[in-house]
């Protein structure tokens, strides 16, 4: 497990560093935009998934998967390593996102909103975690090509939700989005905290279960 975890980081940092830095900057911009508009935070989360997928693309082209059967890592180790790597990547990004947002609101105090500040790291970790929890078993059972299709479909779905929330930017008192959001924002975010923590824990649990499922599925895959 440790081997694959490190391997993925080495490929990201050693091989794709330029892309990584670039995408991180873009992702952080979206996170910062999220201070003003929730859609930004969600989108940065989706962005993270794309970065990991870029790396998967390299794996796919290199026939690493067949080779890894001959390595002392095991199918379970490969799955665990990959899940661990992904969530560590999301977490690392979230830390950067918080810093970026704090800096941003320090320079632009008019955008300071504790709710948004709390929501940002939550979205940047848990949106991609949730997406991967739902889609990674497809990757391990059916391969990268099928996974990519499913992922894009889900992207559309989340994009749709993002668009839903985007609606509130339009100055239209009667849009559904604005009424939902005004409901949320009228509530004290800190009283919602236990719910938020519960959802976060649920997402983590789902991620863990997804890992177990992927392990089981991957063991049965024949090349």
């Amino acid at each position: 497990m440790k081997g694959i975890f490190l391997k993925n980081w080495i490929v990201m940092w050693g091989g794709l560093r330029f892309n990584l830095v670039l995408m991180t900057i873009v992702g952080l911009i979206f996170a910062v935009v999220g201070q003003m508009n929730t859609f930004g935070s969600i989108f940065s989360g989706i962005f993270l998934c794309s970065m990991v997928m870029g790396m998967m693309e390299y794996n796919e082209r290199s026939k690493w998967e067949l080779y890894s059967d001959a390595l002392p890592v095991g199918r379970k180790g490969t799955v665990k390593g990959f899940y661990l790597f992904s969530i560590s990547y999301f977490a690392a990004f979230s830390v950067l996102a918080i810093l970026a947002c704090v800096l941003f609101t320090a320079f632009m105090p008019m955008y300071f909103d504790p709710a948004a500040l709390i929501l940002t790291p939550i979205m940047t970790i848990f949106v991609p975690t949730l997406i991967f929890a739902l889609t990674l078993p497809v990757l391990f059972k059916f391969g990268y090509k099928v996974f990519r299709v499913i992922f894009l479909v889900l992207l559309g779905f989340f994009g749709g939700i993002g668009g839903f929330f985007l609606g509130f930017l339009v100055d239209d008192e009667h849009s559904l989005a604005s009424s939902v959001l005004s409901q949320i924002w009228s509530v004290d975010i800190f009283s919602l905290l236990p719910w938020i923590i519960a959802v976060a824990a649920a997402v983590l649990a789902l991620y863990f279960l997804s890992m177990l499922l992927s392990s089981k599925l991957y063991k049965t895959v024949e090349r």
Binding site: L6, I10, V11, G15, W64, A70
Partner: protein
């Protein structure tokens, strides 16, 4: 231990192809060549050794460990593998490969790895994408040789390479077996590569094992003859392995034994044996 690889009654069924009851033994300290036409089942056997595909029947033991055993993952630390396609992500450099394999193999030696890279003339600054096919293959070989392996499994590791590089690479495998605890299983359809250094040859044809023998004993068993059609008819049916008619002569592979006088005979090479055995009917 006695055998580096022990395969008994191995079989695997696919739609349209069956690997049928294969039994092989690779004694420790030896080099075994696996030959056969494309699609004969050589790569299938290697995939079965690593459990990339599940066998339908039989057993496989590698370095004394059943390959379905939990401990087999640890045993893989002692198996060096080179597959026919280079298998590292294109965006990495040699030092990244070193870092990756270090965290994967228990007995990885960075010094040995870079020594091989230098010996093979591999560029340290280029990304894997920029390597030629020969360089990519050499990288895989450098990796296989740098983690204290006792067994090398090579699947068409020299296909697509020019003769000069192939010669260099065969030297590396030859040297690997100077230690009597080191063994090599090499599958190839370039038989001339195998002819010199192999101790054993196993011939897979359409999913079945035609023979697995000591190379010298094998070559002593047969004769290649050039004769006329009438001469061929004079021979015992059971003596003829296969024949090929051309405009000016008939060529045949026969079992070594007494021949009617006047027939020109010579020692066959392994490729001759394989070609004539593949002919369908006598």
């Amino acid at each position: 231990m006695k055998n580096a690889i022990e395969i008994r009654n191995l079989s695997k069924e696919f739609k349209g192809f069956t690997l049928n009851n294969i039994s092989l033994e690779l004694p420790s300290g030896c080099i075994m060549g696996l030959i056969g036409e494309n699609g004969a089942g050589k790569s299938t056997i290697i995939k079965l050794i690593f459990n990339s595909i599940k066998r339908s029947g039989g057993s496989i033991e590698v370095l004394g460990c059943d390959n379905l055993d939990k401990d087999f993952e640890k045993v893989k630390n002692e198996i060096g593998v080179v597959l026919d396609e280079p298998c590292f992500p294109e965006c990495v450099r040699l030092k990244d490969i070193n870092a990756m394999m270090k965290s994967i193999y228990k007995n990885w030696s960075s010094d040995e790895f870079f020594a091989y890279c230098d010996k093979f003339g591999l560029p340290r600054d280029k990304r894997f994408k920029g390597f030629s096919k020969g360089m990519k293959m050499k990288t895989s070989i450098a990796v296989a040789m740098s983690h204290g392996a006792r067994l090398l499994v090579l699947d068409e590791a020299t296909s697509g390479l020019d003769p000069i590089i192939r010669d260099e690479i065969l030297d590396v495998f030859n040297d690997f077996t100077r230690d009597e605890n080191h063994s090599v299983l090499i599958s190839s359809h370039i038989i001339s590569d195998l002819e010199k250094i192999c101790d054993y040859i196993a011939f897979i044809h359409k999913g079945s094992l035609r023979f697995c023998e000591e190379k010298d004993a094998l070559l002593d068993k047969y004769l290649l003859i050039h004769c006329t059609d009438e001469d061929l008819k004079k021979l015992q049916h059971s003596q003829i392995v296969g024949y090929k008619r051309s405009r000016y002569e008939t060529e045949a592979l026969v079992k070594n034994g007494s021949l009617p006088s006047g027939i020109i005979s010579e020692k066959p090479c392994i490729e001759d044996i394989m070609l004539f055995m593949s002919k369908e009917s006598v």
